[in-house]
Symmetry: D2
């Protein structure tokens, strides 16, 4: 086994998505599983020569006082999403990674997330202090492990939404405001982004939180010759929307209403039970139907925390559309998928593709990764096939 | 209202799809309905300047002894797919068209369809006689009405399947066999195609019947500098398959099984209740999953005649797939659509696009129309988005 | 046709349920339809000799400024729930009934309903005035038409919920409070009940509004030797719950969660879009699962106004349950029914059974009608089969 | 732990249902699981004092050459229906039981089942020889283990159907025919029944195979003062039918069609893939809708073997019904349950209730157990609530 050259730094490192990514990476290293679910594992992309699994080392930030091994066991026994045998086989690796996980920040995360924080998490940090501390953790991780490059991925719970338009448009205006949480009301996800990009790391926002969305943060990335992308991993119901809505558009069928009802019971669901956190998520799940269709049918997205479902997110969508001669018709679908199992391979894909983009010298927003996100930065097209072509074109597979 | 320049000649002219197409065309001429469901009515395709609705005159062949107005009324009252008011408003036009419908042929259509034939339909015709009679009908239709060009569309019920590979590869070998039904065991749909193409008409096969699929018939089309395409209009469940299967492929999710259960109660359903007729349909609905995925998961397609549903075809599909770490997940959908309402606008679209292709001097197979068919002639790609791009590229909208 | 002996007085007389009941009654009188959907039309109950359809005459109260014939037409054309032909055939009867509909009261109905009131509806009535006026209308209806008995049925939109426990327990305490809306904060549904019962009419509350639920109103009914029952017609999703929950109980399967998502777009849906009106409805739809199971699994009921659906209420229920050895399993159902078509026959049934109860001298709460209601007055058992046996036992069909 | 007093003898003792029953019984003995899914574990039936789990000892017949522990492991890992930990904890018990399982008979089981038989299973036995051998096994099991009574339960795969009407009506006519498979064309399930009843054991037929259905076998049971019941455990889709059809009947809603589509991938599914075996199952799943409704709507039941689903049987039912004024409406449900997990507790329930019936001196058909079966012997009523009342009445809970 070669020495790892790249770091994966997970924000929310002991959450469901992170734990599944970590278990999966360990299993891939040990060749215990097939690359099913990994876009970067598609045979047709092999010519890109993405980094191997052994090239990656994992660390991260976490605010809760839990252990990776316990979380992995719960995914196996309570949630029934991973084989118990598999968890047993990667147990030691989980313990090694656990020791590389550092306390995160709760600056502007909202009360629901704040309440989850363990005793080690600093209280009352200013944004500047948080950024400094996070940057130190990232640098130390890279130096101690001799890593060539670190890719930071935000897989923490959704923060309350922030109006990006109200933020300073340039980094020079922004920088002085970092002194206090009052003058700089941006959430933790953005502070992680600032720390990562300033340290030369790449940054990926897998959540609908603010992250690196603001214009000034993109400027920061380009200034530091690094790269970022987001936001909100497109794993299930919204993936379906981005696949189905173009069909209605192409066939000139008029969508009258599109209702999506989502139920699940993992930690993310608990956080989304708080209306201020839910708002960002619902907006991210909802906008693309109108974007694709070119008109705004009535849409409704609900997300409910149903504890018994654990990580199994079930979405029921009801699409009411009008066909020829005005005749109303209906499409319904039920999607039953494990949230973490769907998300984890995309996290690993994003890391690999970002590393490839770095090799190619790309900086700023990585728009070719649009198909991975519900609300891709800098990309208007929302149809999955079109977004996926951005990837295959980047990969040199299509003109 | 200008004088019509083009003829639409429908095979199965008083069936559900034909009747709905006829009612729809009449309603479009009277500006009673919006162009919902018409691909050729998409605003982005307006620059193509497709022929206007007033440019078309309808005639056709039919074997059953029924009246168009009665069929249209049933669509409104028993099937609840068209407004009764609308039917009333086009009543006179239906009667005019009824008078232009001629007895079809039942040469090699199988016993289930044969039993539906009325007293006017000739018994015991040889293929050559049938072709001659059909050709005369087409020529007379064009001449009497001063039509520039006639497009023949097969919307008759599905015939028993024929092994295309067993047929002569060239028209010269084939032609002498037309003398008797024994030496030329091809079904009516192919005889209509031969008659149409020989007369210089365009031919569209909207059904899974043999039609113009054989190599020798394509040769005939090119020899007569005319054009054809098929087969089997992609209206509902199979459209969904061609939209969803690429998503599983792009995300490297492994489809383990794909079950599709279709129920409906119109005349087509009754014909498909005969296993020999059903076989062709099931094959056409089933092949594309493996074609798109690149491997063959277990698939199952069932089609059942459930009388109470009338024209409302309900499909339940259950897709069992494996994600990351081998975790099994499920997607189910229920599609509730009116078969005729979904098919009719595609018939009108195909006519308009075929007319445009003629203006552009295209002959042989019109492969740019692949997105309209379950089993497009001469096209391997089965993903809807890719097929639809063939159309938009042809239309000059994409490179 | 014999002279009608009984009156049906509908509160909300031009709403969807009332209009469908009226169209249906007229169609039954003219023998245009079968008694499908009518419990009182079951062959096994024929021996009860319920009153014939010609025995009933309809009148009612309404607050909106609309016409019955227009409402009926909308049910046929926009909502596609009734045949247009049928509406045409009962047109004259609708106009006759329209003339017997009087302005209702908006005393304490909440702002959402208040805003729907037309110019004829009195503003600022005291409860006593409203009761007086309603009573006069009822008496005049009975006298002018020579009716033996009048049955008042509340099918108006759901009012904001009221805490029944906060109301006076006896009629003597209550009566003096009627002077003003402040001292007597009960909604219109209860004022109609008071007026009806005081006038000797029977009263049926088909909605979750307060109606005759309070103890003191039941006392009033018994004092006037008349009868009443409610509340909230059990038409669709909740009917399913009362049928399915007992199965889980009998089989000792442990329901972990029961989620019900309801979407529809009629006027009732619009009113329920107001959270204060929705609360009463959700409570009525939700309680029975725990009542039947004997424990409280997590439940969730949502009701969303989706305009395109019109009267077609679609419910998706997801039941997550644990079987032997703790194995989790799932039942999902989708119910697609017309709200008004499901409710209307139950209104007619309740009228007929109430009339029969009067013949038998029954007063107070008619508990044998429990199976018709989501929250039956005076009945604890919530399983449909058990409730239905109350009816068949009352009918003498079972011991 | 007390010494077991009663024997459970399973036919098909290493199949999915048997293995799950065995694992479950062992887990119950070790108090590792709650009595979820066990009707006999309902608190309201505790007063009946059913035998405790320690009172039972398991043995059985099997034709396949497999091991219980392997089968149990597959239920845990491939099928994901049992916790792997639980299987590990009962491992030793499985091995003990394995040693008590004897080779079954393949007399008249049809070729599909025959092909599964291992080398130990006798070939070419006459019915009389098979009965003798089976009886010896049963007697030896009882004697060696000092058992007071043995209850034989058939949980083997479905045999090809036999016309019960063609069989001799009395045991005296039947007995001489046992000499050869030609004169006595009854399947193995019936030979087991004859052997069991003749030996004084109780017999329960949990499958749609012939078993103890014939009149002459019931006579045999009564002659030997023992008892029997069947047939075909009502676990999922058919349970739903027996719960939902009465709702449509009670509400006078007219069922126009009822389509049920079942997919699953366990061994039973494989056997049912053979049309001769499937016929008996489909008939048993289908008849009760007409029985409950009192008329015969169009029904359709399909059962497909979809390997990837393993023991997870998914049923999609589509019920098309007519409501008031003839308006068509739809109910769809999807049932996702583990076949073995649903069946196993019913097997244990039937054993316990049969033991109780023996204590009460009941012989012949145990009709109070009707609610457990799709086609209960000697019971006409098919509504679940009514059947369940037979049980609660027998238990003294209702009049």
């Amino acid at each position: 086994m070669s020495r790892p050259r790249f770091g994966i730094w997970l924000i929310g490192a002991r959450g469901g998505v992170a734990t599944t990514s970590i278990v999966g990476l360990a299993a891939l290293k040990q060749k215990l599983v097939e690359p099913t679910g990994l876009v970067s594992g598609l045979p047709e992309l092999a010519a890109l020569e993405p980094a191997g699994w052994d090239d990656f080392l994992v660390g991260g930030h976490e605010i809760r006082d839990v252990r990776l091994a316990d979380e992995a066991l719960r995914l196996a026994t309570s949630y029934r999403i991973i084989d118990q045998d598999l968890v047993a086989k990667v147990q030691e690796e989980l313990e090694r990674i656990d020791r590389r996980i550092r306390p995160g920040t709760i600056c502007n995360v909202g009360t629901t997330i704040e309440q989850m924080a363990g005793p080690d998490v600093p209280r009352g940090e200013s944004p500047r202090e948080a950024i400094g501390r996070i940057g130190d953790d990232l640098n130390q991780f890279a130096e101690e492990n001799g890593l060539e490059h670190v890719i930071v991925v935000n897989v923490a719970s959704t923060e309350p939404s922030v109006d990006a338009a109200s933020l300073p448009a340039s980094w020079n205006e922004w920088e002085p405001l970092l002194e206090s949480a009052e003058t700089c009301p941006v959430p933790a996800s953005t502070l992680y982004a600032i720390a990562a990009l300033t340290s030369g790391c790449s940054y990926i926002n897998f959540t609908p939180s603010l992250g690196s969305a603001p214009e000034a943060i993109d400027e920061l990335a380009r200034r530091h010759e690094t790269r970022h992308m987001g936001c909100d991993g497109k794993t299930g119901e919204t993936l379906m929307k981005s696949v189905l809505a173009p069909m209605f558009a192409a066939r000139h069928l008029k969508v009258m209403s599109w209702v999506g009802h989502n139920i699940f019971g993992n930690l993310d669901g608990k956080v989304l039970d708080d209306p201020v956190n839910k708002r960002a998520k619902v907006a991210s799940k909802d906008h693309l139907i109108g974007d694709i269709l070119g008109y705004r049918p009535q849409t409704h997205v609900s997300i409910e925390y149903i504890e018994s479902l654990g990580d199994w997110k079930t979405a029921w969508d009801h699409i009411h559309f009008q066909g020829f001669l005005g005749t109303p018709m209906t499409l319904q679908f039920t999607w039953q998928g494990s949230d973490s199992i769907l998300a984890a391979p995309l996290v690993l894909d994003l890391v690999r593709f970002t590393e490839l983009a770095r090799r190619r010298g790309q900086t700023g927003r990585l728009t070719f990764l649009a198909s991975f996100f519900k609300s891709p930065y800098g990309v208007d097209r929302q149809d999955f096939a079109g977004q996926f072509r951005l990837l295959t074109q980047w990969a040199g597979l299509e003109d």
